[in-house]
Amino acid sequence: MSLPILLGFAAALCLLILLPLSWLVYYSVHDRAGGFTLANFVQLATDPTFLDPLVTTVILAVSSAAICCAVAAPMGWLVARTDMPLRRTVRALVTASFVTPPFLGAVAWELLAAPNSGLLNKLFRAATGADADEYLFDIYTLPGLIFVISCYTFPYVFVLVTNALDRIPGNLEDASAILGGSAWTTARRITVPLAMPAALAGALVAFLQAMTLFGSPAILALPSGFHTMTTRIWSLFQYPPKLELAAAASLPLLLLTVVLLRAEAVVLGRRGYAVVGGRQGDPRRVRLGGWKWAALAAALVVLLNPVFLPYGALLNAVFSRVPSEFVSFENFTLHNIVFVFFELSSTPVAFRNTLILCTSAATIGTVMAVVIAYITSRNVIAWHRALGFLATAPVAVPGIVLGVGLFLTYTRPPLVLYGTLWILLIAFITIALPAAYQQMQSAFRVVNPDLEEASRILGATRLGTLGRITAPLLRTSVIATWCFIFIGVIRELSAAVMLFTADTKVISVLIFDLNESGDLGAIAVLGIIMLVFTFAVVVLINRIPGFGAVRLRNN
């Protein structure tokens, strides 16, 4: 009885992922009349309006990845391996920057570092008496964009590095010390090499994130007159839409992602020695002595950028008549709040849609991840390896590319899902699935199959066993996965912006719309509510009795 259901699951997964990608490839080699052509690719390779964004995107992704590693790896080490004070707080604050949608961060940084009206530039001029034309920062530049993207990408590297360092047993380092290695030698010969695979993986994730982000470049790059690949693809949807060209322009992103993921597998595969089995004693913490306060100060200075300054700027804008001025007696207003709650007619729709999509995508996505991880780790059906590959495959599909693919797939019969929440649900689940699946898979590895076998011997079906025995054993991971998808959906803009209609608007799209008409006060209100709401859900889910005290995996 269970087997057909599981097979059905596998089939659904194939459909979910292969269908949009097939349409993408099909469109890319056809002209509008439906004839076969390579003209789209010729244009892609010769037209500077495609080549320039491609170069920009590569520069952007490489620099962001480098910055993320340079900042997050030392910070991860401080948190995981030293006696720096307030380590848990620092971890929580990094989680806060992970929860912050990058497009919201970009708007906040407009408020802070627009060359003339930015709050930081105003403070700079006030402090130095500089001329009205002078400024310290200009966020509407490529370096500005790289900075903002790094702010909201570094948590990925941080999480991977801290998790790896948490797992490296202290006795290896002890051995090095006993054999006469100085602290520096130990770090260089033991800790760094062991953390290297995680840092590399982190760099790759950062690269892919920076490459595929849509919101931040749309907000910061377009005003200064340059495109990245994602904004360029999106611009092809303007009237008259050039879907064939959009499909063709999506493929380089897809290809680059696949190549990089392969390269990572090869590199990490060779570094097999770095894998450490089990936990042999707690990691020894390096005593920093007097330096620990300097370390804490450095960590907090880093966290100014993704958390303290942007949140401060948004809060200031909520209560300001002119969002780029500090709240004062003349500048104070409640109008932004009144506007968002009582005038803006999209607010209730966007909140309702976001709530529905967040909870259903998180729930369905988690169930799928559990079932697929169960199939692949317990070898339930033939071809289970292929299934695992399919579940991981969307990692290679940037959100905007998936958006284009889904649009091409579901605006035509037999399944016209465009205009319904289903198409967004499919997009969000597909985007979230790889990470969710990998989390669940690593969780399954630590659960011994004995208990499941006992249940099966006593007559339970596979699904019954999964529901009654295995899943409860894994509840920590299940909850973490649920939260992870939930947050991911709230952050998502690039696929949503291709797929929404008036009735299926979500908050991220609403904020993006408001930015295009320059309504910064309203964005601040929506953004703050969104953040409070996300934090509240994450905390609540983790407090439900019986679920136990759980920390976010990416914590």
């Binding site: 320039d52 003339n116 009206s117 200064s224 005038e343 007619s345 008036a502 320059g518 309504d519 910064l520």
Partner: protein, 354 residues
């Protein structure tokens, strides 16, 4: 300055604008009988309970219009779907191509869109009583498919704290002065119908060379025509090369340090018609809403609070705003915009690189 009425004569004299009626096929010109607001219409609309309004009006004006309607006709909610006119057009096209009929009433600042929609046969003929009584024939489609809901200008503007009045640009040519490098903000014709219409008029009258030179001024490129005035208000840029006069009026009248400039070469005139869709999901609420939009009550709101200009014969300009008759206007030509819009977007993108 005496209050004055923008009569059709003033407007035509001032602008020599091509009347909207001029581009409609005169063959079977037969607008339907005007519709008055009746108890039956209100009741039918109330049964539908809502109306979906796609528009490019800046939200701080569009939502109060919706709220005024809801206050007058309780039980009928207005959903304002606001984005740039070119986006509105693209979105409706995309939705209709997938057989999604979500929009009831549309209002766009690119009058050319109505030529396309009418040609495609997706509009429903409908004439509100007020439009029949108080709007000149030039402001209405002869077949009753659409009528000019509002009008505004795309002006130059500056921040009075950053620029002294005597130093402010007086013309488009003045914007090319090297002193404005890095200080100009402007909207985008692929997003905004106002900017599309203005770009057409400016490129026609001054040539594309003007834009090529303007692009060398390191212009801050925003999307909506409502955003350049807001960027002036923030003090983010000193001068705007184009943007909505009405948002500038709103900001100025609420105390922001901004001022409009009517360029000596002429100011682009933007007429924004409204129409109902044949496949509207809430046809009665759509009719009632269209009647409300053309009523003196709503037109007054659009003018007084919104800072726009009205074709309604009973509505007067607000004192303190420059009357239309004193402004040299560029000639509006939706039929040309309809033919050229793709080329304008492509050329613009090439020059400004986004």
């Amino acid at each position: 300055m005496p209050r004055r009425n923008i009569s059709r004569r003033t407007l035509l004299k001032a602008s020599g604008m091509a009347a909207i009626g001029a581009f409609a096929a005169p063959l079977q010109a037969a607008a339907p009988e005007p519709t008055a607001v009746t108890a039956a219409l209100i009741e039918a609309a109330r049964k539908e309970g809502k109306v979906v309004f796609y528009t490019s009006i800046d939200l701080p004006v569009a939502e109060p219009i919706a709220k005024a309607f809801e206050a007058k006709y309780p039980g009928i909610a207005v959903r304002v779907e606001r984005t740039g006119s070119e986006r509105v057009f693209q979105r409706i096209g995309q939705e209709y191509a997938s057989n999604i009929h979500a929009v009831d009433v549309v209002n766009s600042s690119d009058a050319a869109h109505f030529i396309v929609w009418k040609r495609d046969g997706v509009l429903a003929p409908f004439v509100p009583e007020d439009a029949a009584k108080h709007f000149a024939a030039e402001q209405k489609d002869p077949d009753g498919m659409f009528a000019a809901f509002r009008m505004s200008l795309s002006v130059i503007g500056y921040n009075t704290r950053l620029v002294k009045a005597e130093d402010a640009p007086k013309s488009f040519a003045d914007l090319l002065d090297p002193k404005w490098v890095g200080k100009i903000v402007k909207g985008h014709p692929a997003y905004s119908g106002t900017i599309m219409t203005a770009t057409h008029q400016i490129s026609r009258d001054l040539g594309w060379g003007y834009f090529e030179k303007l692009a060398k001024q390191r212009v801050m490129q925003v999307q909506s025509a409502a955003d350049p005035p807001k960027k002036l208000g923030l003090g983010e840029r000193a001068v705007m090369a184009d943007g909505n006069e009405y948002v500038l009026f709103q900001l100025k009248e609420s105390g922001s340090p901004v001022e409009a400039v009517y360029p000596t070469e002429g100011t682009p005139l933007i007429v924004s018609p409204s129409a109902l869709f044949k496949a509207a999901p809430n046809p009665n609420a759509a009719r009632l809403f269209q009647c409300f939009c053309f009523s003196a009550e709503c037109q007054e709101l659009v003018v007084d609070k919104g800072g726009m200009r009205s074709f309604h014969a009973q509505i007067k300009d607000k004192p303190g705003r420059r009357p239309l008759g004193e402004i040299k206007l560029m000639k509006e030509d939706p039929a040309a915009v309809e033919k050229l819009s793709e080329e304008i977007k492509a050329r613009y993108t090439k020059i400004f690189r986004v």
